[in-house]
């Protein structure tokens, strides 16, 4: 029997898309950079349907692209046309299986949207701390598969720190039932860690048991300005020393980002801003009444590390400060094309890195714009270059590999990483091959081969086959 005919014997017609028009939005990545082709998009509603579909794919030698919210920034969740594959979209596998308030865990299926999970936690007087710009669309399966980060990593860690157990349909068609809610379990290799951040190359995560955390009572949001990146690092360390884990976010924003905000979103009034200033957005969480942190910031002002600090006195102003931060990528998009990097560095190297990287890229492209913002608290920078007005888009675009090389060479010179939180997907496959050591790549290949010997799961993403 033909593959499509066979899946039609088990799944209802509304669970299978084969029409080109219908499939299209699932085959295109969020940034519109990749447009692949699939045989079909299927929407299983139960675990049994996922297992059955995988077995059917094995039988017909069809590759599988697992997909949840399809918000990957690296083309990780869309098919590659040259490889005959289907998309298994998990958005209909979206039940909340269990909330255990005494164990502080929640077990959800992969298609649950991150924002819904956070809301549900709040309703139960708990916190699910992972928060990022795509939380209204991103689904748990993908959030785990990319080990997503977001804005609260400095305090709560990445997704990896929040996953206690997983349920995975393996490339063999077997179901691994690992949904434990245990905080301690030293019984050999911690298998779930393999699937977290594996970008769907080792199996399909169908459900997860996640940590719930106590809900902080109050928040404070500050907007500080400084003269230099080194000062932002100094402020971070000063705060860490005095208030430690109350720091829930520490975001830095370069002057160029603020100029773009002023230009494209003039309604987003900046709390204060002088030419050349770096801004720091700081969120502090408290379980008790806030201590008097004002003196800590006043110290910074007296020492000259901080120029000025505004504090959000109501919820609206908190949202306003965050809104400025969240509008940077949108302002950047309106400004035109940019070459983007999501890098991670030891915090101590960041000031030197930024200086050298801008310097080197400016030698190649005079008057290139640099847009730098990110989660300084985690050493994660979004480090992008914008198209200078005197250069055509095509010319600028053609320099992407050279710019990437300059940036990544420096990143690795400072012992950093070329992907802090977005993953590898299709976008960075070749860069990964270039910058990861032979030994590491070979270990990764061996793990991939041990679990998925026929390379059925998300081929062409993250790792290239051995002989490639």
């Amino acid at each position: 029997m033909h593959f499509i005919e066979e899946i039609q014997t088990r799944l209802s017609s509304y669970q299978i898309l084969i029409n080109e028009e219908d499939k299209k939005s699932y085959e295109t990545d969020w940034r519109g950079r990749y447009q692949g082709d699939s045989l079909a998009v299927v929407f299983p509603k139960t675990i049994d349907e996922v297992i059955w579909t995988v077995q059917c794919c094995i039988k017909h030698n069809i590759k599988i692209v697992p997909q949840s919210g399809n918000t990957s920034l690296c083309g990780g969740s869309v098919p590659i046309t040259s490889i005959p594959s289907i998309i298994i979209n998990l958005s209909k596998l979206n039940q909340i299986r269990e909330i255990d308030l005494d164990n502080n865990t929640i077990t959800v299926e992969s298609g649950v949207i991150l924002g819904q999970l956070s809301d549900l936690a709040l309703k139960n007087d708990r916190l699910f701390p992972l928060s990022m710009a795509s939380e209204g669309s991103a689904q748990i399966g993908g959030v785990i598969s990319t080990n997503a980060g977001g804005t609260a990593v400095i305090r709560y860690g990445t997704m990896r720190a929040l996953v206690l157990g997983l349920e995975v349909v393996l490339p063999s068609g077997e179901l691994w039932q690992g949904l434990t809610g245990l905080r301690k379990d030293n019984t050999g290799y911690d298998l779930k860690q393999l699937f977290i951040g594996a970008e769907g190359t080792l199996g399909i995560i169908t459900a997860a048991t996640l940590k719930l955390l106590p809900l902080p009572k109050t928040k404070e949001v500050y907007w500080a300005t400084t003269n230099s990146v080194q000062h932002t690092v100094n402020v971070l360390n000063h705060l860490k020393k005095i208030i430690g884990d109350q720091i829930c976010a520490f975001e830095i924003i370069s002057s160029a980002c603020l100029q773009l905000i002023k230009k494209h979103f003039p309604q987003l009034v900046l709390p204060h801003h002088e030419e050349g200033d770096w801004a720091i957005l700081i969120e502090l969480d408290y379980f008790n009444e806030p201590q008097d942190n004002h003196s800590i910031f006043m110290d910074c002002i007296e020492k000259g590390t901080v120029n000025d600090v505004a504090i959000a006195v109501n919820e609206q102003q908190r949202d306003h400060f965050w809104s400025i931060r969240e509008h940077i990528p949108l302002a950047e998009k309106r400004e035109g094309f940019s070459i983007k990097h999501d890098i991670s560095l030891p915090i101590s190297s960041i000031p030197q890195f930024i200086l050298e990287a801008i310097n080197e890229v400016s030698k190649l492209i005079p008057s290139v714009g640099n847009v730098c913002f990110g989660h300084l608290g985690d050493g994660n920078l979004h480090f992008n270059f914008t198209n200078p007005s005197q250069m055509t888009k095509e010319e600028f675009l053609s320099l992407t590999p050279t710019v990437n090389q300059i940036v990544y060479d420096l990143v690795y010179h400072f012992n950093g990483s070329l992907s802090a939180e977005h993953g590898i997907g299709q976008l960075k496959v070749n860069s990964l091959k270039k910058y990861k050591s032979q030994l590491e790549l070979s270990l990764m290949q061996k793990i991939k081969y041990a679990i998925d010997p026929t390379n059925i799961m998300n081929p062409g993403k993250m790792l290239l086959p051995n002989n490639d």
Partner: protein
């Protein structure tokens, strides 16, 4: 010119108000309170007039419980020169607030009162107008622009379908609309400085006026919850449901 700005402590704009379980009022305990947004705009306008050397002093006033001191401190951080709390445990109605303010104005002799057009908790939109009447002053409500010309004000008001500019003589009461200005943010150095600015407390009793409530609240309750929507699996069922349950088609 001396400007008086009344400010009110209300439930934060971003918090969804809930009725108390006994129906006696709106639940406020443990929730974030903030300055009424229209009053922030009023204060900002007064501070800007001072920065333009039009005004010489800006006084922020609040009527209510001791807890209102926190928004007065915010007002001081945002640029008010001094603050006065008229303290009472009564739940004040607009008339009572206007009476308190009128008494204080007798003493302070400001030339201009700028206040929010309404507070976002009770939405009364009365205090400014009652105050102008009690004082016998001119009034200009819902201001979206204020220009001072010697002893007069040109106030642009937002009205249905356009703008109206009124010319009023000082002293005057002006109430602010949303688009008058964009209030500034409180900075830490200013918050620290505000701690040293004078904040005076006057007991409402000492003003010897009748501020007892005229209105008794019988019950506060939330609207009935909307029944949850349902999903139907076919167009036929949808049409059927629209006919029989929703009764929106015949």
């Amino acid at each position: 010119m001396k400007i008086l700005v009344p400010v009110k402590r209300v439930l934060d704009y971003n918090i969804k108000p809930r009725a108390k379980s006994d129906g006696s009022g709106v639940e406020l305990s443990g929730l974030k309170m903030a300055m009424n947004p229209f009053d922030e705009i009023a204060l900002e306008e007064a501070v800007r007039l001072k920065e333009k050397n039009v005004a010489t002093e800006v006084i922020a006033v609040s009527c209510g419980q001791v807890s209102s001191q926190d928004i007065l401190r915010t007002a001081l951080a945002l640029g008010a020169d001094r603050a006065i709390l008229i303290e009472t445990d009564y739940d004040l109605e607009p008339l009572a607030v206007a009476k308190c303010l009128a008494k204080l104005i007798d003493k302070e002799q400001p030339n201009l009162v700028i206040c929010g057009k309404q507070a976002i908790d009770d939405d009364s939109n009365q205090t400014g107008q009652i105050l102008a009447a009690l004082l016998g002053w001119s009034q200009a409500t819902f201001a979206s622009k204020i220009e001072v010309t010697q002893d007069h004000l040109d106030v642009t008001r937002e009205i249905d379908g356009g703008l109206e500019t009124v010319h009023v003589s000082l002293p005057s009461v002006v109430t602010t609309d949303l688009r008058l200005n964009e209030p500034r943010f409180a900075t830490l150095p200013n918050i620290m400085k505000a701690k040293k600015k004078p904040l005076e407390t006057i007991s409402a009793q000492s003003l010897q006026i009748d501020i007892a409530p005229r209105i008794r609240v019988l019950k506060v309750r939330e609207p009935d919850p909307r029944p949850a929507g349902i999903k139907v699996d076919s167009v036929d069922t949808l049409i059927e449901k629209l006919k029989t349950d929703a009764k929106v088609i015949g």
